[in-house]
Structure formats: C-alpha cells, structure tokens
Symmetry: C2
Subunit: 141 residues, 2 copies
Amino acid sequence: MLQYRKMSTMPRLAKNYRLVFDVVRKQGHGRHLATADVFRLVKRRRVGIGFTTVYRALAKLRDLGLISEIHLPGADSAYYEPAGDAHAHFRCDLCGSVKDIAYVPSKRVVAQLAQSNAIEVNDVILSLHGRCVSCRERESA
Amino acid sequence: MLQYRKMSTMPRLAKNYRLVFDVVRKQGHGRHLATADVFRLVKRRRVGIGFTTVYRALAKLRDLGLISEIHLPGADSAYYEPAGDAHAHFRCDLCGSVKDIAYVPSKRVVAQLAQSNAIEVNDVILSLHGRCVSCRERESA
DNA sequence: CTAGAAACTGAAAACCGTTTTCAGTTTTAG
DNA sequence: CTAAAACTGAAAACGGTTTTCAGTTTCTAG
Ligand SMILES: [Mn+2]
Ligand SMILES: [Mn+2]
Ligand SMILES: [Zn+2]
Ligand SMILES: [Zn+2]
C-alpha cells in the first residue's frame, strides 16, 4: 500500500486517470465525492468518457495510494478524497452528509490490540454516526 | 434504538422471526454469520422459508435491538450476531475471517469529538483490517 | 523506424446482495 | 365475528460495481 505524496515520484498516469485524479485532488481534503459526483465532474471536462474508465481510474489511484476510498455504513456508494493523514468520518443518518473527524486510535493502542489478538493490522477504520448540526436544528423546529 | 436484553420484556415475535433470532442467537457472541449463513441455517429448520422473509426478520430484529448488523469494508454482505456489548471487528484481507476485538473508543473521547464537531453521535463503528494468524503462517511458508 | 507487448478504452452485459411489488394468508385487537 | 395489521413468498426490480469483448493507444525492444 504505497503512497506517492510527491508528483516527482508519482508514476506516469494515462490521460484519463490523470483527469480523474485532478478532479478528486481539486476538491481538497474534507470534501468527499461520491462515485456519481466524480462521474459528473469528470464528464464536465471530457464528455465522452465512459463510467467504466472512471471506475478503473479510481481503483488504480486507490491502489497507488494517491486517493483514499471511503466506505461508510448507510451510504450506498463509495466516497473518494485525496490521500492524506489518517482520520475518522462522521456520517449524518438523516441527510447523509460526511464530515472529517480529526481522530484516530493511537498507534500504541492499535499495536497492543494487534499483539493481543495475534493479528497484523494494516488499516484502522473509524466512523461515527448520528445527526449533523443542521439536521439537529431543523428537527428541533 | 431500544434494546431488549431480557426475554420477558421482548415483544411477541412471529414464528419465522423467532426462528431467525434463535439461529443468530445460538451462534453466541464472537460468531459472525453472513446473510447467506443465516439463510442456510434457517432453511435447515424450515425448508420452505423464503429469503425475503429472512431479510425482513433480520431488519426487524436489528431495529428491535436484538441483533446487530455488521458492515465491513471488503466484505460483500452484512454479518449478524446477537446484540451485546460494543466492540470492534477485525477482518482478514486475505481469507475474510472476522474476529471480535475488545476495544471501543472511550465515552469521554467520543463526547469530546461530538462537542468539538457540533454533532450528535449515536454510533461508533471501528474496524481493523490486515492479516489473521493463519494467513500469516500460511504466507510465511 | 518497426514490431510486438502491455496498457487503456467504452459499450454492453453480467453480477449480486438487497429491496420492492404483488396477491394473497395469518394473526391480532375490539 | 370482523376489520385492521402483520406476515408471507415468488417474482421482478434495483443500483452500484465488475466483467467481457473487441478493439485502440502507448510503451519497449531491437
Ligand atoms: Mn475524509
Ligand atoms: Mn462481533
Ligand atoms: Zn444531517
Ligand atoms: Zn486470514
């Protein structure tokens, strides 16, 4: 699970893959694009592109460690964001909005869990679920 | 999200729903049944039952808080286990096996995250991913 | 340059877990 | 008993994603 942080060390990408990457990267961190959002934005720049190609690009970029693919219980498609520091996600049960949460279980705790369970942990995924600010406001009205 | 821990306070369940509940409950904690596993085990006791009914039973039991439904990135169906204390799950990327992990972010940390992000957190889902013991052994051979 | 191999492309079809629809049957409440 | 509510199962639909196919484009030797 390599990660190319610098463009200089980044492998040469096909034109379309590059386009998909640019679309995801341009959102910056904290924005979470559903697969359908990526399609829409990519099509805006290259009308004829097939959704198969976009799926393949997303998979490759994910494998290269350039973007991260987010799966949240309750959401019905994957979400994408540029690769960056590990963090958790909050998803509103009511409106489906997704928000970054600056927290991740400490390395020490995870190492301890790995040891006591005799497993090798390569990834830790944390998601919070509940009601977002605006949904809480709207509901209390 | 109520939870009926005692049979005495448990609502009356239709025969089939009861059957599905028994199948899940009989596995005890620490066993994780994929939807297909539940079908198989239920059909063993009631041959003619339709999978639609099983899906409906699982949804209702989940809503009643009697069982918990687990969604793990990488797995292609839901898993079920009897309701119990909160815990995390480990899923082996290679063989797909699922294991309970006795850890959950502390109430204090979650409350702090909720406050600083102005969200209401109703659920915290933590999953670990990597290689299980047997897969590590098999790979090193 | 010129093969040939490897990577990429997009339409269409397949996939597959899950949900919905339909036309009933069974159970419950009064 | 009677009407409403809950439950049932077959079949069809759903929807995000993957696979297949028949090419086209790009890369790598030589
Ligand atoms: Mn994020
Ligand atoms: Mn468990
Ligand atoms: Zn919301
Ligand atoms: Zn394994």
